[in-house]
């Protein structure tokens, strides 16, 4: 008996959040990506995580603040109940500053590491704090595919949409590591983006995206500074897709995933 082909991996983009060097939100990022505004990189400053209870607010590091800020941008722009959203947190690695503190302490005679620092060192710290902040008991996953983490997160989010038929919030984020880790993992800047994806078109939804595995060269960005950002931070590997969404004219982009395997995304306005 022949089976129907599975429906494609697709979603409708309901809202976007961005925070990066010289990029403070989606409207300003869209203006830069479409060439309406010049790109002027500046230090990324993640805002305080006001949604967290005071005890948790004091404990979180810059990586979690960065992730929560773009997640909240997207959720706020969509004006829907963030507690109901399944979430996918994609980051190439854990928090570098915390890792540095822990490894420095473990290399010292004392070895007394801070309990808070230890539980904040987990890769799913942003996921855990997000669920606490939003009182969200929805499923949440934290994953990595190194430099292809954005694509891995997008693939996971699209697969979840297909299975659960409910909105998914994808959050991709990294912050530069302190020395001496930086020399071994030179992340160029702090950058994060969030995509709020819905399974069906609605009155508020934007472009439709459809993804498939591909073996083609990745799209690049014309602006040298933006291209440096794309190559300098794994989460910024998603910038060609964000540019396509900002242009609003549809088309196909190829983004980095794994060695020898890319993710092609078809955007339909």
């Amino acid at each position: 008996m022949a089976e129907d082909p599975p429906p494609p991996l697709q979603a409708y983009v309901r809202a976007i959040g961005v925070l990066g060097p010289g990029l403070r939100d989606w409207p300003s990022t869209a203006a830069v990506l479409t060439g309406r505004e010049p790109y002027t990189p500046a230090l990324t400053e993640p805002p305080p995580p006001v949604a967290l209870p005071p005890a948790e607010r004091r404990r979180v590091g810059a990586t979690v603040r960065l992730a929560l800020s773009v997640a909240q941008q997207a959720a706020a722009a969509a004006d829907l109940d963030a507690a109901q959203l399944a979430t996918v947190f994609a980051a190439s690695g854990g928090d570098g500053a915390i890792c540095h503190e822990i490894c420095s302490t473990l290399a010292s005679p004392e070895r007394q590491i801070s309990p808070t620092r230890f539980h904040n060192s987990i890769h799913n710290a942003a996921s855990g704090y997000w669920s606490i902040a939003m009182r969200s008991t929805a499923p949440s996953i934290a994953l990595t595919a190194y430099d292809g983490s954005f694509a891995a997160g997008l693939l996971e989010a699209l697969a979840q949409l297909r299975t659960r038929a409910a909105p998914v919030l994808l959050v991709s984020y990294e912050i530069a590591y302190p020395e001496p880790l930086h020399a071994k993992r030179p992340l160029a800047a702090a950058f994060a983006c969030a995509l709020l994806l819905e399974p069906r078109a609605g009155s508020d939804t934007g472009a439709r995206i459809e993804a498939a595995l591909a073996q083609e060269p990745c799209d690049t960005l014309e602006d040298d500074a933006l291209e440096s950002l794309r190559l300098g931070v794994p989460s910024a590997r998603g910038l060609p897709l964000l540019r396509r969404l900002a242009l609003g004219d549809g088309g196909r982009v190829v983004i980095e995933y794994l060695p020898g395997l890319q993710l092609a995304v078809e955007v339909t306005p």
Binding site: G128, R135, T137, A138, A142, T144, T163, P180, R185, Y257
Partner: protein
């Protein structure tokens, strides 16, 4: 979900290399916890170390992946014909049609801990330290994907102690979406100083061997393990006795970063979601492999969740008294233990526990129970309030 066959699976932990040794140890109620002599660790604690890891050498082509975690992965891949099964599957579908989804919490972090001791006068890490291929969590996925010569999608899930349970969900979704035909799933976590000193700092470590669900339980004992399964959709010619993944349930506690919701609400939600995913009811469950870490609060919360779901009708146990808590590998290790339980009609005892806490209203097994099992549940809950339950089935006859 559409059921997926565990067409090949394997586990390596301190209780044994491969399925035969693992089953033999469970059947004999033999644990592997011993006073910690790992590296330079000076803590009063017991650990479940896999001694054979030290002798493993990676193939020359993958030498840059050299670290304890990848050595443990390689040791486990070599058991039970797993590599041959994956190769046969790749020959059927093509290497691009097979995904790799693995879980770990600390990956090769030990390598960074050791490198920090060898920092130069300028503070720089040594020349030979390679972050991407050792410490980074995706090192595990990259290493296994290359070892198995697979070319499909891959990711490493790192949600603390639920990591390698959640990979079953990620793989199942991509198979269901038709992106891949099969997937290698699993988890690998190895001993390192961060977890040993970190759990110690949180005062969550037992002084002796851990005793999950015991009146006198006083914390976890850390172990290391690697476990893998090859997941494939149902085929009409699946051999009798095949173990199936029929449900995956995920939830978040939204409560605290390192403590569970006291009533186990997230745990209960994950178990109910796994049952719903499989189209099963609580009455269908024959055995539950608990997360059962052995801390007073974790076990109390899980017991409330389990009692609310099945009362004392279902035998339950934690196998962490035998294997230690293998953190990011626990989900996959205990899924494999559940597959063995189904295959051998053995609900394994929770060893070390002598006096099950009467305040925990569940049927906690301190002896093996030999009985046909058709449907078993495996629980994995992690820091950050990340919960995942897997439902595994092996139809009778």
């Amino acid at each position: 979900m559409r059921p997926l066959a565990l067409s090949c699976f394997t586990a390596t932990s301190a209780i044994g290399l491969g399925l035969e040794a693992t089953y033999t140890a469970l059947r004999a109620r033999r644990g592997a916890l011993a006073p910690c002599a790992f590296e330079t660790v000076a803590l009063q604690t017991w650990v479940a170390e896999v001694p054979q890891v030290d002798a493993v050498r990676l193939p020359a082509a993958l030498a840059r992946f050299e670290c304890r975690n990848n050595r443990l992965a390689q040791l486990a891949l070599a058991q039970d014909g797993f590599i041959a099964a994956v190769q046969a599957c790749a020959a059927r579908h093509g290497p691009r049609r097979i995904g790799v989804f693995l879980g770990t919490s600390t990956s090769g972090m030990l390598q960074t801990e050791l490198a920090y001791r060898r920092r130069g006068p300028d503070g720089a890490l040594p020349e030979d330290f390679d972050y991407a291929t050792t410490h980074n969590a995706f090192s595990l996925g990259d290493f296994v994907r290359r070892s198995l010569a697979l070319e499909g999608p891959a990711a490493v899930v790192s949600t603390a102690c639920s990591s390698s349970a959640k990979v079953f969900g990620s793989a199942a979704r991509l198979i269901e979406a038709g992106v891949i035909d099969a997937a290698v799933v699993g988890g690998v976590d190895s001993l390192c100083l961060t977890t040993l000193y970190g759990f110690h700092a949180l005062q969550l470590v037992a002084r002796g061997p851990c005793r999950p669900f015991d009146m006198n339980r006083d914390g976890i004992s850390i172990g290391e393990a690697a476990a893998f399964a090859l997941l494939e959709p149902l085929t009409p010619d699946a051999p009798a006795g095949t173990v199936w993944l029929t449900g995956v349930g995920e939830s978040s506690d939204a409560y605290h970063m390192s403590a569970p919701h006291p009533d186990g609400l997230g745990a209960r939600a994950a178990m109910l979601a796994a049952l719903a995913d499989a189209g099963r009811r609580p009455e269908d469950i024959d055995y539950i492999n608990l997360h059962g870490t052995g801390t007073p609060s974790n076990d109390a919360a899980e017991a409330r969740a389990v009692a609310a779901l099945v009362g004392t009708r279902v035998p339950v146990s934690s196998t962490k008294g035998a294997t230690g808590h293998t953190l990011g590998a626990a989900g996959a290790l205990e899924a494999v233990i559940c597959a063995l339980a189904l295959r051998h009609a053995l609900a394994p005892a929770g060893i070390n526990t002598t006096r099950p806490d009467p305040a925990l209203a569940v049927d906690y097994l301190i002896d093996n129970r030999l009985d046909e099992l058709a449907c078993v549940l495996s629980n994995s809950f992690g820091f950050g309030g990340s919960n995942c339950s897997l439902l595994l089935e092996r139809p009778h006859g």
